[in-house]
């Protein structure tokens, strides 16, 4: 009996071991809840989903990352001569420190694009569909390269997604010319393969968006080369003119206007729904309970802790279309109220006229030491007195949504296209009155400012009261076109790039000033403690923190440094000059 039992046990055991041992599937476990390379690239849906992920990431849509974060949207103004943050900006002050890693040297989205571009052909869908998706990706790639080139100049051009053994990892930088030509090729291909939009105000990339991107990039590259002495500027200026011309000719877009110059400009930036807005080429949507931003609140509370520079305020024309030095309407800057009177209506749609808008009923602008200055949240300090109003709307409901606000964000405006067209033509010397009338003067008309007349402008050149901001040009027309651009696109992240491409970095060294301070208006403010003034009574926001002023080194600061660690990892990379 017991012998038998024993045998039974042994047989049972062996059977178990054998059964387990034979089953090879037991050790083969594959992911069941995610997509792997082998089962991808089949359908149109897969391509769409891949491309979707680009939208919130692309740094080229500056300030429009996960949320419509104002501080990012305005970073190009904060580090320029437009906006003055309470704590000075390290880039604008020439105090940017070379980082060990990061510092804008990011290649994640280039890889993301190349990964797609090397594989999308596998998908079993029509060429039309997959090429349209590839074209979208190429626009993202172009925008990303545009960022890199603006920041670093020469950068390696990559047309494949790399692996750990790719020789491209250690390649030296490619010339700016090669990179930008490659970007152009990509953009032209994209423009060819993208569908045309049904109408204005798209939320995704279409042919017109690509054209606008091309115009923007070409103007930047054309002027950059011209003023920094690099060959090939004419080609890019011509392409900028052509691309903007195509958009103008397409007739899809026009400036938004209701015939009310006091409000129309502001309405574009204070709109809860930009769908169908004729001025919008591309925008970002926000909807209740889905995606939100805190823009209106941020502006209302002045949480950006910055104000406009005197220099920006002064560049606004008077309502007659003449600069403040020339116009008889200018009332001087004895008080801030005087200063803002009879000016280009865009001025008070961009910055607060005291005691109007969100300041209704309050004594004055938010400068340090005034009652208004510190809310209990110790934010809201306006160091110059000129408080931001753009992106604000008079809407308590939106204000109370806080971070869940639904203000839509314009990403590419038709106004920029008009400015590109005018500037490119002027740089090429082909801007005539007709061209100005269908570009700059459309902007002036919407704003209710006197027209730009070629004949008149040329006469200012010799007027001692006419001040040109720019040292590198000797053309009043170009000066006025740049003025128009600075004013129209104020606080839209363009100013720093503009100074760089015009080679006007020295403008950053001009003493940063705020409004003229009137003690009787601000009885609580203690000069020498709360604020500091220059001899003429203008506020000097940085007299304490930057006693020696801001520094701009012409031979160094037009480009950013490559992070030190990258130079060690790839000995073929050479640091930008001066760093």
């Amino acid at each position: 009996m017991k012998e038998n039992n024993m045998k039974k046990y042994m047989i049972f055991l062996s059977a178990m071991v054998i059964l387990a041992g034979c089953n090879d599937d037991f050790m083969n476990r594959l992911p069941k809840d995610s997509i792997v390379e082998e089962n991808f690239w089949n359908s149109e849906g897969e391509l769409n989903q891949y491309v979707n992920a680009f939208y919130p990431l692309t740094a080229a849509f500056a300030g429009h990352e996960t949320y419509f974060t104002l501080s990012k949207l305005i970073s190009g103004d904060l580090q320029s001569d437009n906006l003055v943050p309470v704590n000075y900006n390290a880039v604008a002050a020439g105090e940017y420190v070379m980082p060990a890693t990061g510092g804008g040297w990011t290649w994640e989205y280039i890889r993301r694009a190349n990964y797609f571009l090397n594989r999308y052909q596998k998908a079993a869908v029509t060429d039309e569909i997959k090429n349209a998706k590839a074209a979208e990706v190429k626009v993202f790639k172009s925008l990303e390269y545009f960022q890199l080139v603006k920041r670093f100049g020469d950068v390696p051009w990559l047309s494949n997604d790399l692996n750990t053994d790719s020789p491209e990892l250690f390649k030296p930088r490619d010339s700016r010319a090669l990179v930008m030509d490659s970007v152009l090729v990509d953009l032209d291909w994209a423009i060819e393969h993208l569908p045309a939009p049904q109408g204005p105000a798209a939320v995704t990339i279409n042919r017109h968006v690509a054209l606008a991107v091309k115009a923007r990039i070409c103007l930047h590259e054309g002027t950059f080369r011209k003023y920094h002495g690099i060959a090939g500027s004419e080609k890019f200026l011509a392409l900028a003119l052509e691309a903007s011309g195509q958009l103008i000719g397409a007739g899809t877009y026009r400036l938004f206007t209701t015939g009310n110059p006091e409000e129309d400009y502001a309405t574009v930036f204070g709109s809860l729904d930009l769908a169908g807005n004729p001025e919008i080429i591309l925008y970002r949507r926000y909807e209740p309970n889905l995606l939100g931003n805190g823009t209106v609140r941020t502006v209302h509370d002045n949480s950006i802790d910055a104000g406009a520079s005197k220099s920006l305020i002064e560049s606004y024309l008077c309502i007659d279309g003449k600069p403040i030095g020339i116009s008889p309407l200018y009332k001087g800057d004895g008080t801030i109220e005087d200063e803002l009177t009879s000016r280009d209506p865009r001025l008070t749609q961009t910055f607060v006229y005291p005691r109007t808008k969100m300041q209704k009923g309050f004594p004055g602008p938010a400068i340090p030491g005034t009652d208004f200055a510190s809310s209990s949240l110790s934010a809201g300090i306006c160091p110059t007195g000129y408080q931001l109003a753009k992106y604000w709307r008079d809407d308590q409901v939106e204000y109370l949504r806080i971070q869940q606000g639904i203000l839509d964000a314009p990403l590419i405006r038709y106004a920029e296209i008009l400015l590109i067209h005018a500037e490119a033509a002027a740089e090429m010397g082909t801007a005539d009155q007709a061209l100005l009338d269908k570009t700059i003067n459309l902007l002036r008309a919407r704003a209710g400012v006197g027209m730009l007349l070629l004949s008149e402008v040329e006469s200012w050149q010799g007027n001692s009261k006419y001040l040109s901001d720019y040292s590198n040009i000797n053309s009043a027309l170009l000066n006025e076109i740049r003025r128009e651009r600075r004013v129209e696109l104020a606080v839209e992240n363009f100013r720093y790039d503009d100074l760089v491409r015009w080679k006007e970095g020295k403008l950053l060294e001009k003493t940063v000033r705020g409004m003229k301070f009137v003690q009787s208006v601000y009885p609580r403010v203690e000069v020498g403690k709360d604020i500091f003034l220059d001899n003429e009574g203008y506020i000097l926001p940085y007299s304490k923190s930057l006693p020696n002023g801001r520094v701009f080194n012409e031979s160094k600061h037009y480009l950013f440094p490559i992070p030190t660690e990258e130079l060690i990892l790839n000995p073929n990379l050479v640091q930008n000059p001066g760093w």
């Binding site: 055991l13 071991v17 387990a20 037991f26 083969n28 476990r29 992911p31 069941k32 809840d33 995610s34 997509i35 792997v36 390379e37 991808f40 897969e46 769409n48 891949y50 979707n52 992920a53 939208y55 704590n87 002050a93 105090e95 420190v97 060990a100 890693t101 994640e108 989205y109 280039i110 993301r112 790399l162 750990t164 790719s166 491209e168 990892l169 939320v203 995704t204 970002r284 949507r285 309970n289 889905l290 995606l291 309050f362 004594p363 510190s374 809310s375 209990s376 110790s378 109370l400 949504r401 806080i402 971070q403 869940q404 609580r524 007299s543 304490k544 006693p547 030190t564 660690e565 990258e566």
Partner: protein, 1167 residues
């Protein structure tokens, strides 16, 4: 019963219904278990009947009949019994039937067994054979007994506690008995001079010559050296003297009666180089387990097996643990192959005792918890003044006007008559209340209640252990606090099915529920971090004042977010079902097997309710509370483990001893989960997914892994003098591709018991045992977090944070990269050990080891950023950890009954990177070759700039921060004399002016235990600490505004910072955003060395004479305190043990759940 309930609840005093009901639940359980116990031991009960009978030398059958009548039971017997001519002789007065039969049949070839209510007498020829070889028994066996007399007695230990289960034997005979549960025995001894031998595990054997006494009180002396102690090892047990690897074992007693939330915390300081990291004091926090220092760059801790199956040790009820064994070196752990690379912890749960009357034990306690340390934060006006000062120094401006400061001071001094807010001209409210968050939010003593009941017993065939335990612990908050509840159930049954086969069944169930306040994004995300914020946490009152436009409404103060009613509940259920069997094949050869199924179910529910609060306007705001949502997640893991193995035990000529083991193991696990978020609750009161109006976003997951291995052990011992052991495992894992899936991991260990050598006889009076050990082994590590490390997957973004024409959409991220030659990480350990017992009472052990972890999967080989993705993991690094551990134990007892013991453990380790290809330039942001782990790079502090002239004369500090320095800022030393202070290339070769200034590895970790007991009193003291450790303080709590504008900070830093008047201050000038002054540097490097009174327990066992009157065998009351006191040089009011939130990283001081001091009062009952 009723009386007892009242007695128990009295110290609780808190009339929490929860607690009362859990007490009654415990008693219901006792009752149930008692019934259960009685039912299963009918047979036992029969044998326990006490009878009076006199049988004087009559024939067996007749004699048995007489006994049967006296006991009113039926005997059934075989033919052999009826025909036997043997005569029996027994005189019994109040003896149990069992004892009567044992005496009557002693020396006869018959045995007995109770079957249900009958007694079976059967023929057992082996018994006679034994007896025949024993000449002393001839008299009895011949049926002509010499005169005998009954002797009875009781065996106790030095405390007077009774000892059940002690062997009592008449010397030179096989005749004997065992003491019962009251420590009593009764035995018939021959009239002539007899010697009784008492023996019991853990006590020194005692011989007692009888000189006519009939009643004895025997006191056994505890044995202070455990040469015959048996230690649990992988798939078996081993006598401690025969161990060749580095193995330590602690008894479950070390954990019991201590107010520890979980087992891992309780193990701290008990075993040298079992390093426990406390990660804060949340009731739900588990201690990090580590054996012998840094294991791998990728982390990796010891494998924890509870009765052979992997399990979270913190889900156990400490009272259920019999022992915990730690296998430290590769040779001991080798049998666990690919999972044991970094040591193995074997937890053995309690089992039933054989042949024993059921014993019921109850342990219960009430605990009170209080944070060990809280930072001494600035109050409202101090904070506002500090803010102004800090801002003015940095930016030249102030934040608060003098008037505002005045309002705050007035309210602070006289809150009743001064408002806590002012409305500013622009309509915004300026709050200037003063909330001391620690006082307002924390309860003084957070209570916890513990109950544990078990029953333990068995007969010859079946033994059982069953327990239920419950614990309820409250967190630190006064209201709406987090609460942990844990319930444990364990049933462990072992049955001898036949002579050859034993089968065991085990069910273990744990239910843990942690219910905490929901963490609103940006508000409650870290409660402890929030407390560093001046606005709104200090300046906002909790509710608006009664006379405000919106009276008594919640403000933005985070108290209101904690108390919003939104909760996050995690409940974990683990069910374990096991069968094991053991079959004797032939002599010495056994086949063992077990099959285990463990199901883990984690249910998660997180709700965010919308509510309005007042911030800076008189209107309700909802921003951080919207959208309301409900998130539910459910994860289920099925885990199967099967083991089958043959063991062999044999010897040749009593000189050569062999054991062998050959086995097969396979395990597989499948985890599936769902996670659904529904936005916009229809109503706050019913937060369910079916009642939402917003988006519903589901996600799910499914993962599997499997391992399979063959293992073998061969050990050989020559006269227990020369010991050799070979362990190996051939292991495979699903985590690697097919062609690289299996690996062979061998190990060898040897021991030499020098004290057994003849040439050592001279040392015998001193040296009782001396053993040298050596081991070497190599193990693989497959415990990677990722189940599919060799497969790249697309990432899913759901939804993409961008609104397309159709709304939200799904997005896909491209897959990352995988190294093509991915393979096993390996760990090999060399170990030298020494075990020594001297002067009987001193036990000493020392081990030195060196562990090399090679082929470490390195996360992120540094490659140029143009790669555009994280570089893939590669097996590219090697780490060497060297360390040692020492333990010492001394135990003794005085003649007057005081017994005492002291034990100390001390250990140390240090790890070095010996190979790291991916960082040839030795950037210190990454690992680099030659790096000692834990090292802190920093500047050398010269002191403060006292004057502008100092600044002008000093080397430029601009690279650290391009900010003009002011007096009171830190002057760093120009170590490389280049005239500027820099960090060079951030490399070891060009560190600029940085150097290694310290090391955060905890060195010389120690534990020190003292036990004293005397006459029912027992006292235990347990100290624990770290001998050396550097930390660099970081974070808002410590540095306040220097670290971050708006942080409250401590008085420690604010009042000890540099000013014109206080130029010798310790801290730099207090100003905002001056992180350049608080770079890692020599001056502010702190020592986190500490000595902590981890536990103090005092217990008193009531005299049995007293307790037996109420039918209790044992009553012990105790007090136990945890983390009672500490000594440390750490500055500021921070707990030295948990200054680092992450291991090896200088963490943010104080920004986590504080560790707690615990006072516990408890009661233990046995009956």
């Amino acid at each position: 019963m009723k009386k007892k309930v009242r007695f128990l609840t009295k110290p609780l005093d808190y009339a929490y219904i929860m607690r009362l009901s859990s007490v009654s639940l415990a008693f219901v359980c006792i009752a149930t278990l008692s019934v259960f116990a009685v039912n299963t031991s009918d047979a036992q009960k029969v044998l326990d009947r006490r009878i009076n009978v006199t049988v004087e030398g009559i024939v067996l059958k007749e004699g048995l009949n007489q006994i049967a009548r006296a006991a009113s039971v039926k005997f059934s017997y075989t033919h052999d019994v009826a025909l036997s001519k043997e005569r029996i002789h027994v005189v019994a007065r109040e003896l149990t039937l069992k004892e009567v039969l044992e005496n009557a049949l002693a020396g006869l070839p018959f045995g007995f067994e109770a079957v249900n209510d009958k007694i079976l007498i059967r023929y057992e020829p082996e018994k006679r054979r034994q007896i025949r070889t024993d000449p002393a028994h001839k008299v009895t066996a011949s049926g002509q007994p010499s005169a005998e007399r009954p002797v009875k007695g009781r065996v106790v230990d030095h405390n007077g506690e009774v000892l059940p289960g002690v062997n009592v034997q008449i010397k030179g005979t096989l005749k004997g008995t065992v003491t019962d549960v009251s420590g009593d025995f009764q035995l018939n001894v021959p009239e002539e001079q007899a010697v009784l031998v008492f023996s019991f595990v853990g006590f020194e054997p005692l011989e007692r010559t009888l000189a006519g006494e009939t009643e004895l009180l025997i006191e056994l002396k505890a044995a202070f050296t455990h040469l015959d102690e048996v230690v649990v090892i992988g798939y078996g047990t081993q006598k401690k003297v025969n161990l060749t690897g580095a193995v330590d074992q602690v008894s479950g007693n070390e954990l019991q009666n201590r107010p520890i939330t979980n087992v891992s915390r309780g193990l701290q300081g008990l075993i040298p180089n079992l390093n426990i990291t406390n990660r804060g004091g949340s009731p739900n926090a588990s201690g990090g387990l580590n054996l012998r220092g840094t294991t791998s760059i990728n982390g990796g801790g010891p494998l924890v097996l509870v009765d052979n199956v992997q399990m979270d040790i913190d889900l156990l009820n400490p009272d259920d643990i019999e022992s915990i064994t730690v296998l430290k070196d590769a040779a001991s752990a080798a049998i666990y192959g690919a999972r044991g690379a970094f040591g193995v912890i074997l937890v053995t749960l309690k089992q039933g005792a054989k042949d024993r009357k059921p014993v019921i034990n109850y342990t219960g306690g009430m605990e009170f918890n209080k944070p060990t340390y809280l930072p001494d934060l600035l109050n409202s006006w101090e904070y506002m003044g500090a803010t102004n000062l800090a801002r003015q120094r940095r930016y030249g401006t102030v934040v608060y006007s003098d008037e505002q400061l005045g309002w705050a001071k007035a309210h602070f001094d006289d809150p009743a008559n001064n408002p806590s807010y002012h409305v500013q001209p622009n309509g915004s409210i300026f709050w200037h209340a003063n909330v001391n968050n620690f006082e307002e939010l924390l309860q003084n003593w957070a209570p916890a209640v513990n109950h544990s009941v078990n029953i333990n017993g068995g007969n010859k065939a079946v033994s059982y252990f069953a327990s239920v335990g419950s614990r309820r612990q409250e967190g630190m908050f006064r209201d709406a606090t987090d609460v942990l509840k844990r319930y444990n159930l364990l049933v462990n049954i072992s049955a001898k099915v036949s002579d050859r086969l034993r089968v065991g069944f085990k069910t273990a169930y744990t239910n843990k529920n942690y219910n905490e306040p929901h963490r609103y994004a940006g508000k409650g995300s870290s409660w402890w971090e929030q407390m560093t914020r001046g606005v709104p946490q200090i300046l906002f009152p909790i509710r608006t004042p009664a006379d405000a436009p919106i009276p008594d409404a919640p403000t933005e103060h985070f108290y209101n977010f904690l108390h919003s009613g939104s909760r996050t509940v995690t409940s974990t259920e683990v069910g374990r079902y096991s069968i094991d069997a053991e079959l004797d094949l032939i002599k010495g050869l056994k086949l063992k097997g077990d099959f285990n199924y463990q199901t883990t179910h984690v249910d998660f529910k997180d709700e965010q309710k919308e509510f309005g609060f007042i911030r800076d306007r008189w209107e309700y705001q909802y921003n951080q509370t919207t959208p309301s949502y409900i998130r539910k997640a459910s994860d289920k893991t099925d885990y199967f483990a099967a083991n089958a193995y043959l063991t062999y035990d044999g010897s040749v000529k009593e000189k050569h001893f062999f054991t062998g083991l050959l086995g097969f193991n396979q395990e597989w696990s499948r985890a599936t989960g769902f996670n659904v978020i529904g936005n916009n609750l229809v109503t706050n009161s019913v937060p369910v997914l079916s009642l939402v109006t917003g988006e519903v976003i589901p996600s799910d997951s499914e993962q599997e892994w499997a391992i399979r291995g063959l293992f073998a052990r061969l050990s050989y011992s020559y006269k227990e003098k020369y010991l050799l052991e070979l362990n190996s495992r051939y292991d495979g894992t699903s985590r690697f591709p097919k062609d690289r899936r299996f690996q062979f991991f061998p190990s060898v260990s040897a021991g030499w018991r020098i004290s057994e050598e003849s040439f050592m006889t001279w040392s015998e009076p001193v040296v009782n045992d001396l053993k040298l050990r050596f081991s070497y082994g190599r193990l693989g590590n497959q415990n990677l977090a990722n189940s599919y490390p060799y497969i790249t997957r697309f990432g899913v973004v759901n939804p993409v944070q961008y609104l397309f024409d159709q709304g939200f959409a799904l997005g896909l991220n491209p897959p990352g990269l995988v190294s093509p030659d991915l393979t096993w990480e390996k760990a090999s350990t060399t170990n030298f050990g020494l075990d020594l017992v001297v002067w009987k009472n001193w036990t000493i052990a020392f081990d030195w080891y060196s562990r090399k972890t090679s082929d470490m999967l390195v996360a992120g080989e540094k490659l140029p950023a143009v790669l555009g993705v994280n570089p893939p993991d590669r097996n590219a690094a090697e780490l060497k950890t060297r360390g040692w551990e020492f333990s010492l134990r001394y135990a003794n007892q005085t003649n007057w009954g005081l017994s005492y013991s002291v034990a100390g453990v001390l250990s140390d380790y240090l790890s070095k990177i010996t190979k790291f290809d991916n960082n040839p330039n030795k950037l210190w942001g990454n690992y680099y070759e030659g790096q000692t782990l834990g090292e802190i790079w920093g500047y050398e502090t010269v002191g403060f700039f006292q004057t502008q002239q100092d600044i002008d004369n000093a080397p430029s500090h601009a690279q650290i921060a391009g900010v003009a320095r002011q007096p009171g800022d830190i002057l760093y030393a120009d170590l490389n004399n280049d005239g500027v202070i820099t960090w060079g290339d951030n490399t070891v070769t060009n560190p600029g002016d940085k150097r290694i200034i310290g090391n955060s590895t905890p060195r010389y970790q120690f534990g020190f235990t003292g036990n004293v007991s005397w006459k029912g009193m027992d006292v235990r003291l347990f100290f624990q600490g770290i001998g050396k450790r550097d930390v660099f303080p970081k974070g808002n709590f410590y540095w306040g505004q220097i670290s971050s504008a708006g942080a409250v900070g401590t008085r420690e830093v604010f009042y000890n910072s540099w000013t014109e008047e206080n130029r010798d201050a310790y801290y730099p000038v207090y100003k905002q955003d001056a992180s350049y002054n608080i770079q890692e540097q020599t001056k502010y490097l702190q020592s986190a060395a500490y000595l902590r009174l981890k536990n103090l327990s005092v217990g008193y066992t009531l005299p049995q004479t007293l307790t037996q009157k109420v039918a209790l065998d044992r009553v012990r009351i105790f007090f136990s305190g945890e983390n009672l006191a500490e000594w440390s040089g750490l500055r500021g009011n921070f707990d030295p043990e948990v200054v680092l939130s992450e291991e090896g990283q200088a963490g943010t001081f104080g920004q986590f759940y504080p560790l707690q001091r615990t006072l516990s009062f408890g009661l233990q009952l046995s009956f």
